[in-house]
């Protein structure tokens, strides 16, 4: 099946001269949940803003359901829903009115029953007559989601939906995403939390410095990202690593008191227990042990390094 969103050589130079996107190619399949993972400033919001019509591209093309976003914007923007990163809402509108407003802007006839259902799904119904300026951050995020769902989009962009959001909303959000997926909605969400991508995505794209570094099935990527480090603090310093430990390719630091071991946490055998017994066989006394998952930053460093 043809991809629902197809991005080719998408490039953006802001007026300042800054290149936020440097030729992005990406296909998004119908019905999938794609997580775009990348640190702040990677270009995630810029990319989404171009697809939605908020930022003009400098070069490249985007099609949504086969329609070009610039020449056929009426079609593409009716299909797309956007939950923006910033919590921007009119201060003096009520919850219900602002959601109905979004539906109208997208050319849909009023449908109070649908809006009631959306508000109930997002636990907003009892707040429907509340002024937006009186809502907390989490509630405002819910309202932005309700606005985007009010015209039943087929493709939904969620730009950092869980940044600064409490646990209960996060849970509600995952349930909502599952429900939408069951209805065939394609979802693209951006995040800089690996766990978030891990939780719900089918595929994960990694973006940094305006480039897509990789797009892969979640499972395949999680294996790649599953590298962990174990640090062993020794009671007494050693000068060299004993030959018996060479299979573990350890590194020695901290003036001879610290051994570092890298392993694959998703593998069948991590080698930790055999390493520990090997250490005691060599007569080394262990003072402390800690393990650490490679951070997103490490992974970026690695990916960027591989890209060179």
């Amino acid at each position: 099946m043809a991809p629902i969103v197809s991005i080719r050589n998408l490039t953006k130079s802001y007026a300042s001269g800054f290149k936020a996107l440097k030729g992005v190619d990406l296909d998004i399949e119908q019905g999938e949940i794609l997580a775009l993972l990348g640190p702040n400033g990677a270009g995630k919001t810029t990319m989404i803003s171009i697809i939605c019509g908020i930022v003009t591209p400098s070069d490249g093309t985007v099609t949504v359901a086969g329609h070009d976003i610039l020449t056929d914007y009426r079609k593409t923007r009716s299909i797309i829903g956007l939950v923006p990163q910033e919590l921007t809402l009119d201060a003096f509108e009520t919850v219900e009115n602002t959601v109905a407003f979004s539906r109208g802007l997208h050319g849909c006839a009023p449908n109070p029953a649908l809006i009631e259902r959306i508000l109930k799904d997002l636990s907003l119904y009892d707040k429907k007559d509340t002024m937006l300026r009186q809502l907390s951050g989490g509630m405002r995020r819910r309202v932005l989601i309700a606005k985007a769902l009010s015209y039943e989009p087929k493709v939904l962009f969620l730009d950092e939906p869980t940044a600064g959001v409490d646990v209960s909303l996060r849970k509600d959000m995952w349930q909502l995403v599952e429900r939408l997926r069951a209805n065939g909605v394609t979802i693209i969400l951006t995040t800089h939390y690996i766990e978030e991508a891990e939780e719900i995505a089918d595929r994960i794209g990694v973006i940094n410095h305006g480039r897509i570094l990789l797009v892969e099935d979640k499972k395949a990527l999680m294996t790649k990202l599953g590298r962990k480090q174990m640090t062993v603090e020794l009671a007494e310093p050693i000068g060299v690593i004993p030959d018996a430990l060479s299979p573990y390719s350890l590194t020695l630091s901290g003036e001879g008191t610290r051994l570092t071991y890298e392993f694959d946490s998703s593998g069948e055998r991590t080698g930790i227990s055999s390493l520990l017994s090997a250490l005691s066989q060599c007569g080394l006394r262990v003072k402390d042990i800690s393990t650490e998952q490679s951070s997103l930053e490490d992974i970026f460093v690695e990916l960027v390094g591989e890209g060179k």
């Binding site: 908020i54 003009t56 009716s78 003096f92 407003f101 802007l105 050319g107």
Partner: protein, 253 residues
């Protein structure tokens, strides 16, 4: 045409108007009443008639125009400036609507409010002086065309303005001198010849003159020229707006 979108934007703007209705009507009504008390009754009673019309009645069309211009520019600019300022413009930009539809929604609402307030001033004026309208159709035409073109002008200011200072530049600093020097309170025959010539470069003179002609059949310039001036201004504003949307000027990065 995305009629639902036009309806939504228009209704949204009119709701904003309703929330501030009292202040937006009470203040111009009070100001205009003061003008009539001071210029119409107090000073006007000692002034001779202008071309056979009492001074109080003579200034009424100019005062209505003054309010109309201020209201239309103010509402037209604020309506689009505010979403730009708060960021809610993202929703307008990402909706399946064309430039024409956005303009109809925002400018239509601004013009509607201007016309409501302008009509209230007209009714207020009728309490103070004898108003006669010799050409009601032309009066309405001038009224509506002015409201639409200056709301559109305000809309452009709202897009152009970087901050509240720039937003207020036109309504506070540029429009009042143009209105006061545009023959709102006098016939330009009363001016020395040099200033009469200068006045002809003031577009507001044509508006006020044409509008006053539709009331009393007295005019500083030919009413046809007045009408063409308003139409010309409307076309210029429309062209600039079209260019703004084509290039995304100050709306999109």
């Amino acid at each position: 045409m995305n009629f639902e979108a036009i309806k939504s934007i228009y209704a949204f703007e009119m709701a904003r108007t309703r929330r501030t209705l009292l202040q937006s009507i009470v203040s111009p009504v009070i100001t205009t009443s003061l003008y009539f008390i001071v210029f119409g009754a107090a000073i006007g009673s000692r002034m001779q008639e202008v071309n056979g019309v009492s001074y109080g009645a003579f200034i009424a069309p100019g005062l209505i125009m003054l309010t109309l211009l201020n209201q239309c520019i103010g509402n037209g600019s604020f309506g689009i400036y505010f979403p730009k300022f708060t960021g809610t413009i993202y929703e307008i930009l990402s909706s399946p609507i064309s430039m024409i539809e956005i303009v109809i929604g925002y400018v239509g609402a601004a013009a509607t409010k201007g016309l409501i307030v302008g009509s209230i001033i007209l009714v207020t004026a009728a309490f103070f002086v004898d108003i006669s309208i010799k050409h009601p159709f032309m009066m309405v035409l001038f009224f509506v065309l002015t409201a639409v073109s200056f709301s559109l002008f305000g809309f452009m200011i709202g897009i152009w303005a970087k901050d509240f200072e720039q937003l207020n530049l036109f309504p506070m600093l540029i429009i009042p001198p143009l209105v006061f020097l545009g023959g709102s309170f006098y016939s330009i025959d009363m001016l020395p010849p040099f200033w009469q010539t200068v006045s002809h470069f003031n577009p507001v003179l044509y508006l006020v003159s044409g509008f006053r002609w539709s009331f009393y059949e007295i005019a500083d310039v030919n009413p046809v020229v007045s009408l063409l001036t308003v139409l010309g201004f409307l076309v210029v504003c429309l062209s600039i707006t079209a260019w703004i949307f084509k290039t995304g000027y100050k709306l999109k990065n």
